[in-house]
Amino acid sequence: MTPVATRLAGLLALVAAGCSGRPPEPPPTPPNVVATIREQQLPNIELVTHEGRRVRFYDDLVKGRVVAINFMFATCRNACPESTQHLVEVQHALGDRMGRDVTFLSISLDAERDTPEVLRGYAEAHGAGPGWYFLTGKHDDIELLRHKLGAYELDPVIDADRTQHTGLVILGNEPAGRWKAITALGKPVRIRQAIERTILPVTEWPTGAAVVNEVPYEENERGKEVVTADEVAKLLVRDP
């Protein structure tokens, strides 16, 4: 279209809109973060608990709750034992807040072998109590969920290795629309503190001295070596 034609067409469109009597479009409203996350990140997939109950991920496990989610499988020998052990310690530290203030969801990446019975055995062996669900389901559903929750690798070869996805705890306060993650492989105290920073309003977050000093002071100067003056002198790399 020539510029004149374009302008004309624009004018006509304006006139047409005016004639139709349509009210002007209301200004867009900001998104609701809770709804956005629910729609985009929290697929309502079907899962089975270690107690054999059929549940929906969003409706039954996440909606209205604070959750700590990790991926695992019963035969995993890499990070899983440590992750699970850390969560067991966090469970004890949280005491009666487990199930009331926070729910743990451990989701199996081995749908074939991790039947509800196997997971029940795993839960019992680790002393998982109320408020902690071990879950299995369809492989593809769980893969979708894993990616949605951010427990994935950008390199597809590494991503295909499921042992790579067992070191994260994804923390969500669903009604507040707040989600983050922390490593499961740090100290359990740090996981508990991060969970508290998910449950509690910001004004009550544990921070500062109480957080730092809850575990004893530690030094680990890994990577330190003493160098001699001769070695140091060689470090000055000059242009050839």
């Binding site: 070191g167 492989l185 740090r190």
Partner: protein, 561 residues
């Protein structure tokens, strides 16, 4: 039947991935975030943040007036009320939510900014005149947008300041509360070579730095001294460099710095209705598809036919840029991170990683009136891992429109800031070498195999000394490593002399992927002077891909008295 894993094992990763359908590729959905709405570039004039204005001195409070733990304890570093030198300038800055227009075709958004601005007010400090800044947290506690948490710790990036004023991630203060930060504004150990130039201040609170910075909590803090002076090009002093830049008084009575322009580059994403979007499930490093300068999408700047100083800051969470000028003209780089270079360096392009600063002179003298020149980013990056490489033609980020003539008394001298205590002088002090390996591990990132722990010290360097640090990264990730307290010299990159723009002192350095490893020389200053005190205490160092930082790719060193 082949399982997915078998196919991958067979080395058919790329194609197999496609065969298995989009459900497995995050990019198919979330990339949960669909592309931002279209915006017409170069319709908004480049905003320049106002200068922070000093206020009457006030009585300082104890640190912190702060988030209180259930056991009654507060921040980790507690001091005050303080006695500050009589020449200290006082500032009062409120962190608050405010409407902001990123672009005329996007609806007004609510950002979080220092004094409600993104970027926040620019501080102009004179070496020898300390600043006391009270930051008041007026952020909303029930924010519906869901990007950020109303808890703060403020780090003056590149600054030489006490541990309690460094924005240690656990030294937080909550909504309704404030914290007083004292900035000595002095060169480390009062050596002129260590005078600072372009610093920036931003949020540094534990777990949520990425979101808070993305929401808008960042601003410039510029330092001047007798050489690189506030009078700038109009300075008649013998020592003055007379780099481009001068102070002018606007009709409003406010001061404005002309011909010396801070530029913060950030990438953001907007939802289909034009509201700011963020992916809290992406820990690899958040990337936007809109390019902002000083808080607006692809602005333009009218320039005169003369030299300008541009202080470029990469304020993005994870994106790296490589800038070119569309007319093929070179940049004259004069500073990297906090410090002027010893000599100007002429470059066709420069790369800038998150948190790095590069100051360049662009000379528009030989352009024609009406000419349009674009600042172009040609470095493509599609995920948080690393840039993919240079593309052509790239993305035009900022348009310069040459619209007038102006006098130009500025100079770019051949020697900017002599290095009097460089590697040659510092190396004999070195007795310790440390190696830090920045790696991907089990869905997150570690330094020497460890995640940040708040009470673990990873290095105990001595004050008034120097150490060699070797920074390494494997697995194809780049990490912009930032070390607090002091700035370092780069001895070598992959065993070779550092490239020209890495020969000055820096506080942030990219490692990994094709950039490889670096060997740096880290001086540890001896004393603070504005308020006399030996340098000591805890400071952090971390990856400045902020998502990695929030996932605990951080460690700390404790300077020994």
């Amino acid at each position: 039947m082949f399982t997915r894993r078998d196919i991958l094992k067979a080395g058919l990763a790329g194609s197999a991935y496609g065969l298995l359908g989009p459900a497995f590729r995050r990019s198919a959905f979330g990339d949960s975030l669909p592309p931002s709405p279209a915006t017409k570039p170069f319709v908004v004039e480049l905003p320049i943040a106002p200068l922070a204005k000093s206020v009457a001195p006030f009585a300082t409070r104890a640190d912190p007036g702060n988030c209180v733990n259930v056991d009654g304890t507060t921040a980790f570093h507690v001091s005050g009320p303080r006695t500050v030198p009589t020449n200290t300038e006082f500032f009062l800055i409120h962190e608050r939510a405010a409407p902001h227009s990123f672009h005329p075709s996007l609806p007004p958004n609510v950002i979080w900014g220092y004094d409600g601005m993104a970027p926040g007010p620019t501080f102009l400090a004179r070496s020898g005149t300390p600043s006391l800044v009270r930051f008041v947290n007026d952020l909303p506690t029930n924010d519906p947008v869901g990007i950020g948490e109303p808890i703060s710790a403020i780090h003056r990036h590149g600054g030489f300041q006490f541990p309690e004023d460094d924005g240690y991630p656990l030294d937080t203060f909550c909504a309704g509360q404030s914290r007083d930060y004292f900035y000595p504004n002095e060169a480390d150990d009062l050596q002129e070579q260590n005078e600072h130039s372009t610093l920036w201040y931003h949020d540094h609170a534990i777990d949520i730095t990425g979101m808070n910075v993305y929401r808008g909590l960042a601003g410039f803090f510029l330092n001047f001294d007798r050489v690189d002076s506030i009078a700038g090009e109009l300075d008649t002093g013998a020592a003055a460099l007379r780099l481009p830049g001068r102070m002018v008084t606007l009709p409003s009575g406010d001061q404005f710095r002309q011909f010396d322009v801070p530029l913060v580059f950030q990438d953001k994403r907007f939802d289909q209705n034009g509201f700011l979007a963020f992916d809290t499930f992406d820990h690899n490093g958040f990337l936007g598809d809109k390019f902002l300068v000083n808080g607006v999408v692809q602005p333009f700047l009218k320039v005169a036919r003369r030299k300008y100083r541009f202080r470029c800051l990469n304020g993005s969470n994870a994106r790296n840029y490589e800038f070119f000028l569309s007319n093929g003209q070179p940049f004259v780089a004069i500073a990297t991170d906090s410090h002027l270079l010893e000599h100007p360096v002429t470059v066709k392009s420069f790369r800038i990683a998150p948190a790095e600063r590069v100051e360049v002179i662009i000379d528009f003298t030989n352009t024609t009136l009406g000419q349009e020149i674009f600042l172009v980013n040609r470095l493509e990056q599609t995920d948080g891992r690393k840039p993919d490489g240079l593309v052509s033609p790239g993305t035009q980020i900022l348009k310069f429109v040459v619209d007038r003539d102006a006098d130009d008394p500025s100079r770019v001298p051949d020697t900017l800031r002599a290095v009097t205590e460089g590697p040659q002088q510092l190396l004999p002090k070195v007795t310790v070498q440390r190696t830090f390996d920045f790696e991907r591990s089990d869905g997150a990132w570690v330094i020497n195999g460890e995640f940040f722990d708040e009470n673990r010290i990873n290095a105990k360097p001595k004050r008034d000394g120097a150490e060699i640090w070797i920074l390494k990264s494997g697995g194809g990730w780049v990490h912009p490593v930032h070390i607090h307290l002091t700035e370092f010299f780069i001895l070598s990159r992959n065993g070779s002399p550092p490239p020209p723009l890495e020969r000055g002192r820096k506080d942030t350095i990219v490692i990994g992927s094709d950039r490889g490893d670096v060997k740096i020389l880290l001086p540890l200053p001896a004393n603070f002077h504005a308020v006399p005190r030996p340098v000591a205490g805890r400071f952090v160092f971390h990856c400045h891909n902020i998502e990695h930082e929030d996932m605990r790719m951080m460690a700390q060193f404790e300077v020994q008295p």
